[in-house]
Symmetry: C2
Subunit: 205 residues, 2 copies
């Protein structure tokens, strides 16, 4: 088995373990056992556990970035693209619950080098997508002019908070967990908020 | 000096140190030295450092909750209250840079008990404020019907991300730090987003 095939097997094992346990707290020996590979191979391929976590997030981010390019090229209106994008972010966080935890861990609790890597392969392409989508929306007369960095911050912050902030709410004050139904409701809420806001007078309802 | 006066001095010393160092990584002995009190008094009043951090956040949250009640009682429109509230959240995070870090630390990296406390004295009153403000807006015909938990998640997530997510952006991909000017821009962005959205067709521009 070549280098890439083994590395890929280790990443698959790591992601399956994180989904099973609803946690990113997994050990190198758990990953090795699950994948059937020797624990030394994790070090050989990724250096250490943070290296493996970074590679896992990079793998998932690459899929999402491909989806962004595909979305931007579709023959639909900027508003329709924006709605599909909101749907896509929330669905991706829901399908890969560890992604949100990994981003927080690698950006804030790991090394500065790991945080820089995440910025480059995750934050930068997403910000670039927002910039181009907003430009297209303005050019086609659909969007008012919006600063892409501020837009990125508000949209990603709001989506992230459903998954990162929610468990703090659920534990002590009786707000339920994030189910498929809550996701659907939040997608509808964010679409309505981002597209039309909540003030009736402002959007002519 | 009575118990409360000493405890208050320790909290003031802790908050001043966090502002000076732009970090919540401060030691008990630093706090003791800064306040002129004995380090054993920290343990006497707060149990341990997490107890002191929790008391500090509770002190600041109490001020903010008082402000929310004051705002709700003002003889102005729900839309005007909502705009002042957005302004208030972003300004509070900007004035007390450690507040955002403390919330994240106590909710996610400390004990379950600390997280429950933060939910009760910080999340619950803010959610209750949103519920009442949204009800008032709907009753007066200004807002469309919005779920308060979803609204809380999106507004707080978006405001939080300016302060928590921004340094990851600034380091690697050339987005500048959060200055007074960036705060002003983000307040305007969030007001426009929450009140009117970004789609021109939807808000009649």
């Amino acid at each position: 088995m070549g280098r890439n095939a083994t590395a890929e097997k280790l990443l698959v094992a790591a992601s399956e373990l994180m989904i099973q346990r609803s946690s990113i707290e997994i050990s190198l020996s758990d990953i090795a056992q699950k994948s059937g590979a020797n624990a030394a191979l994790v070090k050989y391929h990724f250096g250490n556990k943070d290296g493996l976590l970074l590679a896992l997030l990079a793998r998932d981010a690459a899929t999402e970035v491909t989806n962004l390019e595909y979305l931007l090229a579709q023959p639909i209106s900027p508003t329709a693209k924006l709605k599909l994008h909101i749907n896509g972010i929330i669905r991706a966080y829901y399908r890969f619950p560890y992604m949100n935890r990994l981003i927080h861990y690698l950006l804030h609790e790991s090394s500065a080098e790991a945080a820089d890597e995440v910025s480059k392969f995750f934050v930068a392409p997403l910000l670039d997508f927002h910039r181009r989508l907003l430009e297209e929306g303005v050019a086609k007369g659909e969007f008012r002019v919006v600063d892409p960095v501020l837009f990125y911050t508000s949209l990603i912050g709001a989506c992230d908070h459903l998954f990162f902030g929610r468990h703090a709410m659920s534990r002590a004050i009786g707000v339920g967990p994030v189910t498929d139904d809550v996701c659907r409701q939040y997608i509808a809420h964010m679409e309505a908020l981002i597209c039309g806001g909540i003030v009736k007078g402002a959007n002519g309802e």
